[in-house]
């Protein structure tokens, strides 16, 4: 049964990856509410700017679809923020505990200790005079579009007579630590064109989950839905995940409605947003892969690929074990994309599309059944940990009812962008990292579980207490690099595995929070103060 979603009721960032739709600039703003009535007024005034998930008109369309705007806006609330707009007690108490506690209080679960601890976060998260109540995002097609939209929002803020205030204290370039917003944006290539890369050089954001009700090309289910027992390179190898894994009020993978706050009109079509500012220690990363690379045939690139499970150009290492193969493959993908974009008529378009989907099968449609020991993609690689694709059956035939039994409920919709600038001479200090965002129906079951069990622990992968090499907390207490990882060799090949030890901390938490992302209906109700859980 297919799910039809009311896309005009769902906030746009739930279904859209703005950065992939020409919005390569972003600004994140945090607000504090001083007067509840003004907080509600701010929401009402902002509503016309809030971007929904409804599809935009394509060039040449003459239907009713809205044209693509120059900028988008989305809004979400912390638990404290919902309190400040005077949501009824009964509704507040119906939110899950991890949300009401907030990211800061969940540090032990998340590994936000040592250098990840809140003491090192941007000052905006440590303000004594005001807590973060509202999270607001602007995505724009150009820096000017960001400024224009930001200006409009400041006007709306002004009308609250300081009833809602902009919280300052974001860090930025040149040691600034009192900025009123966090800017982010796609990294640019030499020609100033946006790239899908982050500061370590990896193509990021591949294999976002695909679920029921999204109106994108059904071929995108490849490698992005839940695995079936058919070939992972074929469309029948995947099925869309249930909507309720990502949007409240709809059936989830347990075949029930997700636990959600009351009344239903408050939670229906809403979701949760995890926002995290992650600093990247570019210097340490480059030094480490260079040093380890001396022991591997494809050098530093191979170390980077073994760490991530994908080559830095995006090609999966389990399918393309050498750099040469990976480069050749990505060239083909780029050519196919270009061909598709340049196709003039329906026939050449569909021929190009068939070609592209076949390549997509190799790019994202794979699993680890032929690489159980991890001699190509290590079992502890970042992408294999965070999206095991049925690898938790460990090759045991039909171990579970479905190969994704242990993974389908742990998927994360990732919406993030890099911030700051870096180059090959960058060190660890400076302003460069990623704004990581994850959207899902349960912060605890999805984001927190992945963070605690799959990133900062290894037992589910039979890797004892090994952590994710890239984003694991390798310096939880002492200032010593404790990270370890094994690159296994093919069993029976007579070759030795490679051991990486003394892995330093590559990524550090610099702030973040848990937010509720209401539907448009719920936003109106919150703004009018008419949420009624009785």
């Amino acid at each position: 049964m297919t799910t039809e979603l009311n896309l005009q009721d769902i906030q746009g960032n739930v279904l859209k990856t703005y950065a992939r739709q020409d919005f390569s600039y972003a600004r994140y703003v945090l607000l504090g509410i001083n007067q509840p009535a003004m907080g509600r007024r701010f929401i009402r005034d902002l509503l016309p700017l809030v971007t929904t998930a409804a599809p935009w008109a394509r060039p040449g369309d003459d239907g009713e679809a809205m044209p693509k705007p120059r900028a988008t806006t989305n809004i979400a609330f912390s638990y404290h923020g919902l309190k400040r707009v005077e949501l009824p007690e009964k509704s507040l108490h119906s939110f899950p505990e991890e949300f009401s506690m907030g990211m800061r209080e969940r540090g032990d679960v998340l590994g936000d200790t040592g250098r990840n601890a809140p003491a090192y976060w941007d000052p905006v998260w440590n303000r004594k005079d005001g807590r973060v109540d509202i999270w607001l995002s602007i995505n724009g097609q150009s820096p000017q579009d960001i400024e224009d939209r930001y200006g409009k929002i400041l006007e709306i803020l002004e009308n609250t007579n300081a009833g809602v205030t902009l919280l300052t204290g974001h860090r930025g370039d040149d040691d600034a630590d009192d900025l009123p917003y966090q800017d982010a944006g796609a990294l640019r290539d030499g020609n100033g064109e946006p790239t899908p890369k982050e500061h370590f050089g990896y193509v990021d954001g591949i294999s976002n989950p695909f679920f029921e009700g999204t109106l994108t090309d059904p071929a995108y289910v490849l490698g992005a839905g839940k695995p079936t027992r058919k070939s992972p390179e074929s469309l029948s190898g995947w099925e869309p995940l249930e909507t309720g894994e990502f949007i409240l009020g709809h059936r989830d993978e347990a075949q029930e409605l997700p636990r959600a706050p009351i009344p239903r009109s408050l939670s229906y079509n809403g979701s949760y947003l995890v926002y995290r500012k992650l600093h990247e220690n570019v210097g340490s990363f480059n030094r480490y892969i260079k040093a380890q690379g001396e022991h591997l045939p494809d050098g530093a690139e191979q170390v980077a690929a073994k760490f991530a499970g994908r080559w830095r150009n995006g090609a999966p290492i389990t399918t393309f074990p050498t750099k040469k193969q990976a480069d050749r493959f990505i060239k083909k993908v780029e050519a196919a994309k270009k061909e598709m974009a340049q196709a003039r008529n329906r026939i050449t378009k569909s021929v190009a599309r068939v070609k592209y989907v076949r390549l997509l099968g190799k790019f994202v449609g794979f699993n680890y059944d032929d690489d159980l020991a991890g001699s190509r993609c290590p079992v502890g690689a970042h992408a294999r940990r965070t999206n095991p694709r049925g690898a938790l059956e460990f090759g045991v035939k039909d171990a579970f009812d479905t190969p994704g039994a242990l993974t389908n409920r742990r998927r994360l919709l990732r919406r993030g962008l890099p911030y700051g600038k870096s180059d090959e001479n960058s060190g660890d200090d400076g302003n460069h990292g990623i704004i990581f965002m994850a959207i899902g129906a349960s912060i605890e079951r999805q984001f927190e579980f992945v963070q605690q069990q799959w990133i900062n622990y290894g037992n589910d992968f039979k890797l004892a207490n090994e952590k994710d090499p890239l984003v694991g907390n390798h310096e939880p207490e002492a200032a010593s690099a404790t990270g370890r990882m094994i690159f296994p060799a093919e069993p029976g090949s007579g070759k030795a595995p490679h051991f990486c030890s003394g892995i330093p901390q590559f990524v550090e938490t610099r702030g973040g929070g848990y937010f509720f992302l209401p539907s448009l209906t719920a936003l109106r109700m919150i703004g009018q103060g008419i949420v009624d859980p009785t």
Partner: protein, 206 residues
């Protein structure tokens, strides 16, 4: 093959339900005093059970009453509170229970002194007879253990850890040097000597 009662291979699962005397001291019931005592026992190498040979995993708790499952079920109550002792170990029951008494008579007395009919226990055989009367059959086994002698398991874990360190430390070392280093490793870790060097029972930071 039918499983033998209370055993899994060479592992034995012993569970005792020992009634606690319905008495009190200084206005505190024996059950409460005992629970307090048990909760303050160490669970590391200073645990009284770390002294008992071949213990894989042991736990004590005080059972207050049976659980009422709600409407539609009969509500029942125990006539007294019970000390529950559950242990997984290597070998046969009688040897283990005698070993428990002989290795730590004082510790055994400190716990069971609150229990009905324990006053009559004077020696290892007496403790064994008492245990037999309190035993309930079960098939609960600690999944984190094999059924080998405890010293062998601890030595194996020690060797695994040391060998991992060795592998990390000697990566890329040439054959001759590697062989020399491995010789030193064998000399230091003494793989066939189960007594030392090894992990201590219950030691938390190995």
């Amino acid at each position: 093959m039918m499983p033998v009662k209370n055993t899994s291979g060479r592992a034995y699962g012993l569970t005792l339900l020992c009634p606690i005397k319905n008495e009190s001291r200084d206005d505190r019931s024996y059950a409460e005093i005992l629970r307090d005592y048990l909760e303050n026992l160490r669970s590391d190498d200073a645990s009284p059970m770390a002294k008992v040979p071949n213990t894989y995993l042991a736990r004590f708790y005080v059972l207050n009453d049976v659980f009422y499952q709600g409407y539609g079920f009969r509500e029942e109550h125990l006539k007294s509170k019970y000390l529950v002792f559950s242990s997984n170990f290597h070998g046969d029951r009688d040897t283990y229970v005698r070993g428990m008494w002989n290795s730590n008579e004082k510790g055994v007395r400190a716990i069971w002194r609150y229990c009905v009919a324990f006053d009559d226990v004077q020696d290892a055989q007496g403790f064994l007879d008492y245990v037999k009367r309190c035993q309930v059959d079960n098939a609960l086994f600690f999944n984190g253990s094999t059924d080998d002698f405890l010293v062998e398991q601890l030595k194996a874990l020690y060797l695994k850890q040391e060998f991992t360190r060795f592998a990390y430390d000697n990566q890329g070392v040439g054959p001759e040097q590697l062989q020399k280093n491995f010789g030193e490793f064998l000399g230091r870790t003494q793989p066939s000597n189960v007594d030392e060097p090894t992990w201590l029972p219950g030691h938390p930071n190995q």
